[in-house]
Every structure is written in structure tokens, then in C-alpha cells.
Amino acid sequence: MQIELKNIHKHYGPVRANDGVSLTIRPGTIHGVLGENGAGKSTLMKILTGFTRKTSGTTLIDGHALDIDSPAMAAQYKIGMLHQEPHDFPALSALDNFMIGRVSGISSHRKSHRSELISISTQLGFTLDPDAQVDRLTVGERQQLEIMRLLALNIRVLILDEPTTGISRTQKEILFASLKQLASDGKSVLLVSHKLEDVMALCDEVTVMRQGKVSGRMTAPFDVNQLLQMMFGTLPSPPVHQPAIPGKPILALKDITAPGGRAGLNNCNITIREGEIVGLAGLEGSGQGVFLRVAAGLTNPTRGQITFHDEPLNGSGYHDFKKRGGAFIPASRIEEGLIPGLTISEHFSLNEKQDRFFMTGKTALNQALKSISRFNIKGRPGMDAAALSGGNQQRLLLSLLPASPTVLLLENPTRGLDLGSGHWVWRHLQAQAASGSAIVFSSSELDEIMMVADRTIVFYNGAVVMDTPTHQADADTLGRAVAGGAVPQ
């Protein structure tokens, strides 16, 4: 079955998630859709599978224009999707999951379903116990189960969304072998991924997306550098960097392993020194977020040592970190950083020393007025923090920080900000670093990291794969490391 997407647009208000995307998937091939997080891959797949309606554009299936407006309709046209998070019933057995949605009439025909499951399983080289309860299976095995369920529904197009996240290398090999077999059986396979190595190992054809648009296409054999350029655009050459004079170590993480995010954090060793600006690079969910939260004491590591000025800080929580002059600003400002429903003034009230029973309100109001003018926040003290724009929310968060913090941990500090606001934020942070604060930030923009960081740490799949002074690295090396092309140190 041939699928053609022509000039697909999807707009969410002013945001163009898909901005004129065209794509052809030929039967019997494995087609890769490659791109960073937020490039518009998931939106495109949601349109193809009927979870979201497109704003405009045409979908052609075997040459016929069709409007797939519900997941049921996608199923009718034999388009099946393997989601990133398993959509199954963990409390039921593998066989039960396999049968769900396909049983009609009075008898469940358990026996015939069992033999069907076993026969598909052996065909694809899977080894799966039909009676195992699904929540005892690994993520890889749950994927295998879901693929078999989709195949039993006679799908002709299989879409996989980041299928290699959270599965072992062996399972990945089994998965790839089975996908190649499906393609040779004439099915169309669409692999959505931000991992260069997966796409290169598996696909016949690749469409690269960037900022909602198709930024390039390529057929096997692939050229890594060209793909990287399509993914990230032309990276600016790094500005000449004054290497920060390394101060005394403040915060040290040793052999840290922690859960969270997509990949967790594995065996991480990082020491942060006074006055340095450290950029954390990596695709979203590669471990940077978990690292920041572990360092802040918000997430407890399952293994390893955290020390602050040589004192152990394990498991004592964010309050201890805050007491030592540390602060954390999360990426989702209004969901995690500010309190919707509370005014700007009330935020300053919360931020005061909690030593009196009654609030005076006046000191907080003064503080709010002072910060509004100093940080150039567009808002009044009595305004709900949720009513502020993203940039102003970030300014408010920065204005709530202690005057001279020891360590600042920032998650995507300039995400969603326009260029001017972003530069303003960095001028402010650089001034703080100059007075001795250590600043650690994550960013999905390599350009930003190369511009401001003294030191760059690259995360891939929950592990640190590169830790280098920024001026010693070039865009290509970093880009390759971000996409998983670096040898772990």
C-alpha cells in the first residue's frame, strides 16, 4: 500500500507544528522520519493515524484521496501504530492482550488465538510466553506483543514511534530483523526517530524534518554529516571562548544512577566548580532533566554519592540544597515553577523568610515592585502569575532566586523565549557566574550551549557520552554525540 502525504499543515493557534510536509511511503520499504524533538514528527504521525485532524493538505492512499479523521478509520485502512508508551493492559496475560478487540461471539476461541500468537511469534523470531502477565514483561517484549497484535489485525502499514527507547541492544537487533522481514513481505514500515544510528541501520529512505518542515531527504547509503546538517541546520562556528578559571568544586555527583524520564540516569560522574557555566546537551529525555533533579535533591538516586562542598547531600531533599544557596528552575514554568492563581506579590510573600505568623504584605509588595522594574517584567504586582507570558514568567522565576546563589540549575532556561528575552536571560546569568555562582543548564539548542557554556556535557540514553571544555569541541562532534554517534568515555 502506498501512502502519500501532500502539503500537510497543522497549526495550533500561531504555532505551526507541520508546515507544508510532503512524504511518500512506498510498499515494501522501511521509511525513516528523522528529526529533533519538536520537529513535527509526532504531529505528522498523529494525522496519519487519525488522532489529530490536519489543518490542510491531502492524504492519498494508493492514489485515492482520503480524510482519515479517527483512529478507527486508520485501522479500517490497515494502518497500525506502535506507540512510544505501550498501550496495553498490564494486569492481563500476553494472550489476553493479543485477543482484546478481536474476539466476537460467545466463545473466545482461546485455543486458535494461542496457536496464531505462537506462529507469528516464531515467524518473527520472538520468544514470548503467551501466559506471562504483561507487567512482568520487559518494554521490548511488550513491543513485540503489540507488533504481533497489529499484524494479526492484518495491517499493511506499521508506524513505530521511537521504538528503541528503553529496550536492550539484543532486543533492538531482534526488532530490526523482524521489521526487515515485514518490509520484505510487502508491508510499509515507517520508523519515527531522533536517533541517527537507528535510522541508518534500518531504513531504505529517510525524510528529515526540522521546525515543522521537511529539511531534506536521502536514500541509503546515508551520509552522516549531511543528515546531521538536515537535522540541526547549519551550526554557527563557536565564538571565541574565555575558558573560565576553574574554581573550587561545589557540587559533585559520583556514580549516580536514578530513575525518571525516558532513559533514567546511569552511572553519572560530574563535578561542578565555582563560577563555571555548564551546558547540558542531548536529545530531550536523555538524562539531563534527571541529572538536574538529582543534583537539586528533588529525585533520589538509587545509587551513588552527592556531595556539596565535600559534605554528603544524599537524599536530604531540595530544602537542604536550597539552604546551601542552590536553586533549581524547571523547564515548565507554570506547571512546576510558579503557582497559578497566586499573584506576583504573593509569590514574593511565599519567597520571604517564614518567620512571622501574619503576613505584612507590604514588604512583599515592595519587593514585587522592585523586581518588576529591575527584571523588566511586564505585569503588575496583583496579576496572576499564570496570566504572564512565557518570557515574563521566566523573568519572574529569575527574580525570585536568591541574590548570590552558589549553584543554579536551570532546565531549558530560554525555551519558548524570543531572541531578545533569551539574550537578556543570559546577560543576567553570566553576571551571576562572574560573581562566583556555578550555572548548570540544559538546552535542546546546540547553538545556545556553544555560545554561552564554558563546558559542555553531552547526554545520550541516560549516560554522559562527552564532557569537554566547549572551546575544544566543534559543532559536528557535539551534534554527532547528541545523536548517539560518540563512543562513551
Partner: protein, 365 residues
């Protein structure tokens, strides 16, 4: 939990409340009609039963007092986003502890000491009972609704055990409760009205204290902050778990006080139905008042009036005595339905504006 309607002005809240009341009225009419009771005479008798005479109105106030106390306590727990459904059991334990202390005052040389001690004991008892549920929530990750509901059953069991066991009347043990206390252990009351002004003063003081606490103290702001965004509150140095326990302690304390008032001011003994479901009813009062403290007194008065007014209904209209319960149940459902509809409409509106935006966006390029 987000507090519905918390963004609205007083006028907006008032309008929402009116919509709820009209819906309640229509649904109740339907229920009465289906039950074979003529709706208009039923309303007439409910009104007469509640407001027909000063004596009757004093009964309404008598119901209003525990309702107000429980509602004030619930304002703390709702503020931090907790559903303190265990308020019912907290009333009961307050009543139990008040009774326990009062019993030491019978035949004692200084009965007044135990009389005055009964109130703090009840407050502490209610608080402790609530803290158990709060602790299960913060430490054991048991949802406070389940913990609270479970604790309600335990409290009811404790009361029945005491009435039929250790505290039974000499010679007889019956559902009518423990032996009546001597009148020097009663809350003073206006002769002829059987209404205690002390209880009334307590309810009003609870209202004022709660309003002050929530509006002008750090605790009030911190509860609100945690209720609105617990994760962000942590970054401001607050510990949500501790404040949840604190809110539960306040909620349970007010409920326990309500229990003590029921014992000392209304029944003068411990009876199995000492809480009279006022805890559950208070949940409804606070929700209908849209979590606004100044709307709580009138709404509580309305519910107290309905409660007292419908007592006479079975006798006057020859309908089954369970009808009063059915009306209250209908009330609960209607209020929840109106709240649900409001939320649904909010989401629906958001969606349609989103769709509009998608349609209006230029589709060329």
C-alpha cells in the same frame, strides 16, 4: 485538585450558586413527584417546618452550628486540595472524647473542670483522627477519600461498642445511647428554645478565625500555594506533606468541636447517630458555596433549614419517612451534576476555541 470557580468574582460565584440552587429545586421537585408526594405542599411543609415558628427556627440554628463548624474545617483541607471525607468520623471521635471527659465530671468534686476540658479534648481527638488519614495519605499514598471513609466506619464502630459495652446505661444497653448527663454538664441554653448561645458564638468565631487564617496568615497562603501547585511549592521551600497534615489537623479539630457541641449542647449524651451526617452535608455546603467562605453561612443555613423542615414531611403528607433522605441524596447528585456540567462546559469551550483558531489560521502558504 483545582478548585472550580476559584477564579471567579463574587458575583460570578453568586450566579453559579443560583444556577445550582435552581437545578437542585427542579430535580427535587421531580423526585417528590415520582415519590407520589405533591411537590407544592411538600415545599410548603418544609418551609413551615423550618421557619414556621421561633422554636422551629431555633432547631434550624441548632443544625447550622455543627454544619458551620465542619464547613470551616473543610475550607482548610479543600484549600490544600484534600477531600477530607473523614470529617464525619472526626465529628464522632470529638463526641466520644467529649463524652469520655464529661463522664469523669459526673459525681466529681469539680465538674466544671471536666466540662471545660471536654472541648479541647474533642478538638484534639478530631485532629488526631484526621491526622491518621492525612498520614496514610502522605506516607502510605492511600487516597484521603478511602482513608477517611474507612476511618468513618471505625469511628462508628467505636461509638456502638462504647454505647453497648463500657458506657452502657446501668441495666440496659440500647440504641438510645448512654445515660443522660446531669444538667450542670450541659451547655447553657436559652430557656424554652433549647438553643445554646455558646454554640452559636463558637460557630461565628470559627468562621471569623478561618477567614483570618486563610486570608492574612502565612499558613493560609502556603495552603493555597500547595493546593494550586505542590511541585512548585517545594521549590519555594514548603513541605507539602507537613502542610497536608496541618490542614487535616485544622479540619479534624473543627469537626471534633462540632462533636463536642452535639454532646454538650444538643443530645447531652452519646448516641449512635451523634454526627447526624452533618459532616457529609458540610462537604456539600462548601462545594455549593464554591469554596468561598462568605457564601458558606447562607448555604449552610439553607441546608440546615431543609434538613429540619423535612422531618415533619412523613407525618404530614403520609409519605415514607425515607423521603427526606431521598431529597438529600437528590441534592447531592444535583450539586455534583451541576459542578460536572460546569467543568465539561469549560473544557468544551476551550476545545471549540482551539478548533476555531485552527480553522481561522491561514491554510495556504
Amino acid at each position: 485538585m483545582t478548585i472550580p470557580g476559584s477564579h471567579l468574582s463574587i458575583w460570578g460565584r453568586f450566579r453559579q450558586m443560583t444556577v445550582s440552587l435552581i437545578a437542585v429545586f427542579m430535580f427535587t421537585t421531580l423526585v417528590l413527584y415520582l415519590a407520589g408526594a405533591p411537590p407544592w405542599p411538600a415545599y410548603y411543609h418544609i418551609t413551615r417546618g423550618a421557619l414556621g415558628s421561633w422554636i422551629k427556627f431555633s432547631h434550624v440554628i441548632k443544625a447550622w452550628i455543627p454544619l458551620m463548624l465542619c464547613s470551616c474545617g473543610l475550607l482548610y483541607t479543600f484549600r490544600i486540595g484534600l477531600w477530607n471525607i473523614g470529617v464525619e468520623g472526626q465529628v464522632m471521635i470529638g463526641a466520644v472524647l467529649a463524652t469520655a471527659v464529661l463522664r469523669t465530671g459526673v459525681d466529681d468534686s469539680a465538674p466544671m473542670v471536666s466540662f471545660f476540658l471536654a472541648f479541647p479534648a474533642a478538638i484534639l481527638g478530631g485532629s488526631a483522627w484526621a491526622i491518621i488519614a492525612g498520614w496514610l495519605k502522605t506516607r502510605g499514598e492511600v487516597h484521603e477519600i478511602f482513608a477517611g471513609l474507612g476511618m468513618n466506619f471505625v469511628a462508628q464502630g467505636v461509638i456502638l461498642w462504647l454505647i453497648f459495652g463500657p458506657w452502657k446505661r446501668p441495666g440496659v444497653a440500647s440504641m438510645s445511647g448512654t445515660a443522660l448527663f446531669p444538667d450542670y454538664l450541659w451547655l447553657s441554653y436559652v430557656p424554652g428554645f433549647r438553643l445554646s448561645p455558646v454554640g452559636l458564638v463558637m460557630a461565628i468565631m470559627a468562621l471569623v478565625a478561618t477567614a483570618l487564617m486563610l486570608r492574612y496568615t502565612r499558613i493560609g497562603l502556603n495552603l493555597k500555594a500547595i493546593g494550586a501547585n505542590a511541585r512548585a511549592a517545594v521549590l519555594f521551600g514548603l513541605r507539602p506533606g507537613r502542610y497536608m497534615l496541618l490542614a487535616m489537623a485544622f479540619g479534624g479539630g473543627f469537626a471534633g468541636l462540632a462533636g463536642a457541641v452535639q454532646v454538650t449542647g444538643v443530645y447531652h449524651r452519646l448516641i449512635p447517630a451523634i454526627s447526624s451526617n452533618y459532616g457529609y452535608l458540610a462537604l456539600l455546603v462548601v462545594m455549593l458555596a464554591n469554596y468561598n467562605i462568605w457564601l458558606v453561612p447562607p448555604v449552610a443555613l439553607f441546608f440546615a433549614g431543609l434538613n429540619v423542615g423535612s422531618i415533619q414531611l412523613p407525618i404530614v403528607l403520609q409519605v415514607d419517612s425515607s423521603l427526606a433522605g431521598v431529597i438529600q441524596g437528590a441534592l447531592v447528585l444535583t450539586v455534583l451534576a451541576v459542578h460536572g456540567f460546569r467543568e465539561w462546559r469549560k473544557i468544551h469551550r476551550r476545545r471549540s476555541t482551539e478548533n476555531m483558531a485552527a480553522k481561522e489560521a491561514p491554510a495556504d502558504v
